[in-house]
Amino acid sequence: MVHEDPDERAPASPEETLRLIEAERAAAQRNIQPDPRLTYVPWGVAWLVGFGLLFLRLGPDGRVFVAMPAWLPLAVLYVLLIAAFVVSGVTGARAGRHVRGVSSVQGLRYGVSWAAGFAGVVVIATRYSDRLPDQEVVLLWSGLSVAVVGVLYIAGAAIWQSRDMFVLGMWITVVNIGGFLAGPGWHSLAISLAGGGGMLVAGFVEWLRWRRGEC
């Protein structure tokens, strides 16, 4: 059969057909899945820098490694967290735009689970903030927050069947518990290097998969 229309033309060989399928599939995956560099890296940077500054200003046993105003580390952490929230949120929303169905319901409910988790953290931690020394306040807030983050990554891994996300959630949970037991100051260091660093590694691994159109 001879077709005039190039659209109706069949790929020349099984090799070419398979190549076309693979290339189109990878491109479609990249279009529909958010770029992991934009969903993981901003959070990794926020933790690395924000908790790093906290460690340097409010170190273990009240040590001050680098002199700076007491408000500065928290201010930097909040600004970076807000930036990460905006960047990853916009990236996720762009990838899911104009797609309706099972995954939009999943995404919405998963988003609500983050809001619900942090609402609990804020209410609980606020009550005790005035009664604790500065060091303990930081430990309370960051310990609870990071616990929620770790659990929600594990839950996300269950929803999206992502092994990388599961490993990251477990890692964050272990680092959080270990750092918390080590005490104020050490916890900030652990979340900065191991937590933030883990997030950056996860982002890089996911990006390699994403580039190949595997996730």
């Binding site: 057909t17 797609v99 169905g101 995954s103």
Partner: protein, 112 residues
């Protein structure tokens, strides 16, 4: 060429599904197969993903819809009418069969 496009369990020496075995419709099928089962994509987003004109995409979607591979749902997003497109169960199966047949053909040519 058979009129029945969906030959489930087709042996590899059989012809490839003619509905899918055309450059443009194959691309549409691949793009839709990437969506999760139970998801649908809006027409303009699909068009943008594929870089096809609206008219061209409509023609191929109609053919895929006639074969029962694609479901086109007209709905409203607030006041704006939206057209949502997704693979049917049959379409997903047909695409899997198609890919399997291509791979089988490929291994046949490699054996020669």
């Amino acid at each position: 060429m058979s009129d029945e496009p969906n030959r489930v369990g087709a042996p590899p020496d059989q012809e490839l599904d003619p509905v899918i075995h055309a450059q443009a419709r194959l691309r549409v099928m691949v793009a839709l197969s990437v969506l999760r089962e139970g998801d649908r994509i809006a027409f303009p987003r699909l068009q943008e993903m594929l870089g096809m004109t609206a008219g061209n995409l409509s023609i191929h979607l109609r053919k895929l819809e006639e074969a029962g591979y694609v479901e086109v749902v007209k709905t409203h997003q607030g006041r704006t009418p939206t057209t949502l497109i997704g693979l049917t169960r049959r379409g997903r199966l047909a695409f899997e069969e198609y890919t399997a047949t291509v791979k089988a053909l490929l291994s046949l040519t490699e054996e020669k």
